[in-house]
């Protein structure tokens, strides 16, 4: 299932005006009136603050009291008025036409999947089955992955029960890892096509640090490896896009990160994994990154970022750092094998933004790293983030969902943990799985036998052909 996005943005002819932070609706209405001569109404003037297009058309515009946003009609006199608003700490945008994305919504998808599974099961019971769609290749990969990291087991990438299996591998999904690059000499990725681009001047995408190779290993590493002690890769058939936005020393500027995000979207990446952070003191988040991330989501690209490792629990809990604190970026916290919050994992300290959205394994995470070390077990929300990215790729493959719908799928299927939502958001990320259909060993089922009319011991009467 693929998504069709309209390339050209269409506008309604109205404007959206973001009013200055902290201003009241009545103050804003009088300010706008004095600046521009426009007579706006407040949404409070309508019953339950509900108004229609017709109501709106009768006014110059309406201020949405709860949002601090005005919807302003396009009229001849507005030309100069709009620019005057922009000069007075108000952000003005044209109102966009919005369409339902051309794919199934979540509830419809669940219904259709349930219907399909029921029909398949009934068909198999009545006429037998060719062992459904559980191929030899899948069985092989499962056998090889008997030894898997605790993180892959906890997130159901490798289910712990025989009754469930995971047929998804990220095939057809593009995952971008924006980090310190990648060690292209790592034997576990030999022959794997990797698209790459460096945004660090003077440094190639070759990973001189190891961090990027570790994150890539978790999100997109192989299903099996002769040298690794256990399976560590999640979306092993996904297409890998490496954007080097951090130097070999592990640092960079966020201009390079924006360039990396832009590159990933231009390459139609479905998922972007960013195990990085910039320090934030006090409140607020980057309006520029939020705009960029919202535009990415609208184009079907989900950005996932580390919440940060600045806490020292239980005493000190630091806030989610930049850019994971942007509302349109999925922030990932870290848990350990016992489902305790990692001592270093940052928390969502502010109710309206900067929340932790989901949690993933981030303590003692085994994965690939640069040669000659080759493999290492590391800690960090940096390690939790690629778990979510890899599993996002599996869900994208399994459901066809993208952007905000993929976000919702990840959070709605997360496993609830007995930890505060402040620390783990929706809970522990979970991979999609299927229920294994057990074929009963019955070759012939006697049906419609009436005991009053036993089967003729002589056998069937042969048809006489004359």
């Amino acid at each position: 299932m693929s998504k069709t996005l309209k390339k050209e943005v269409e506008y309604t002819g109205r404007y959206l005006v973001l009013l200055p932070e902290g201003s009241t609706t009545s103050d804003s209405i009088s300010t706008i009136n004095s600046i521009s001569g426009l007579n706006l109404k407040s949404s409070l003037e309508f019953e339950n603050e509900f108004f229609t297009d017709k109501d709106l058309a009768k006014t110059d515009g309406i201020v949405l009291d709860k949002l601090g946003i005005a919807i302003v009609n396009e009229k001849p006199k507005i030309e100069n008025s709009i620019s005057s608003l922009g000069d007075n700490e108000m952000i003005v945008e044209k109102e966009r036409m919005v369409y339902a994305i051309g794919m199934l919504d979540e509830s419809t998808q669940n219904y259709v999947e349930g219907y399909r599974d029921a029909v398949n099961q009934m068909t198999n019971m009545l006429v037998g089955t060719e062992v459904e769609d559980y191929s030899n290749q899948e069985q092989d990969s499962e056998v090889e992955s008997v030894g898997a990291t605790w993180g892959l087991k906890a997130t159901n990438v490798v289910p712990s029960t025989f009754l469930r299996y995971n047929p998804y591998n990220g095939a057809g999904i593009k995952v971008a890892i924006l980090d310190t690059g990648f060690d292209f000499n790592h034997p576990d990725f030999a022959g794997r096509p990797i698209v790459h681009q460096s945004f660090i001047s003077g440094e190639s995408t070759q990973d001189g640090h190891g961090h990027g190779t570790h994150c890539t290993g978790t999100s997109c590493g192989p299903a099996s490896s002769p040298a690794a002690t256990e399976r560590y890769g999640i979306a092993y058939a996904a297409s890998i896009y490496i954007g080097k936005v951090l130097s070999n020393g592990g640092s960079g500027g966020d201009g390079g990160i924006l360039a990396g995000i832009n590159w990933a979207i231009a390459n139609h990446c479905d998922v972007v994994s960013m195990s990085l952070r910039g320090l934030v003191n006090g409140t607020g988040y980057s309006a520029v990154f939020e705009t960029a991330a919202a535009r990415a989501l609208a184009q079907g690209t989900l950005i996932i970022a580390a919440a940060g490792n600045d806490s020292a629990r239980p005493g000190v809990v630091k806030q989610v750092m930049h850019p994971a604190n942007c509302p349109s970026i999925m922030a990932v916290g870290a848990v350990d094998v016992n489902m305790n919050i990692a001592s270093f994992s940052n928390g969502g300290l502010y109710p309206t933004y900067g929340a932790v959205d989901i949690a993933a394994p981030g303590v003692n995470v085994y994965s690939s790293t640069k040669l000659p070390t080759k493999y290492a077990s590391w800690n960090g929300t940096s390690m939790a983030t690629p778990h979510v990215a890899g599993i996002a790729a599996l869900w994208a493959q399994a459901t066809g969902l993208r952007g905000i719908n993929l976000w919702r799928k990840l959070t709605s299927t997360a496993k609830a943990l007995s930890l505060p939502g402040r620390d783990v958001g929706a809970g522990l990320v979970q991979a999609p799985t299927k229920t294994r259909l057990i074929k009963f060993p019955i070759d012939r089922t006697p049906i419609l036998i009436n005991p009053k009319f036993p089967i003729d011991p002589i056998g069937p009467i042969e048809k006489i052909i004359r």
Binding site: G252, I261, V288, A292
Partner: protein, 67 residues
């Protein structure tokens, strides 16, 4: 090295803003079309000057990022 500035712009306004920056003497603007962001090395300009350009949504200084 001078701190870069990150400029988010309204939909469809990226060329117009790049042109306006050029007229202010900022020639090496990096336009990120897919996300509607421009990255510049500001020279002697003030953030308030950039904000005044029509089509500009926000201007921020680049931050340091690390693993």
């Amino acid at each position: 090295m001078k701190t870069k500035w990150l400029i988010s712009v309204q939909d469809g306004a990226i060329k117009q803003v790049v042109n306006a920056l050029g007229q202010m003497g900022i020639k090496d603007a990096e336009a990120l079309d897919s996300i509607g962001v421009i990255v510049i090395v500001p020279g002697d300009h003030k953030i308030a000057d950039i904000r005044k350009i029509e089509g500009v949504l926000n201007v921020e200084e680049e931050r340091d990022i690390s693993i």
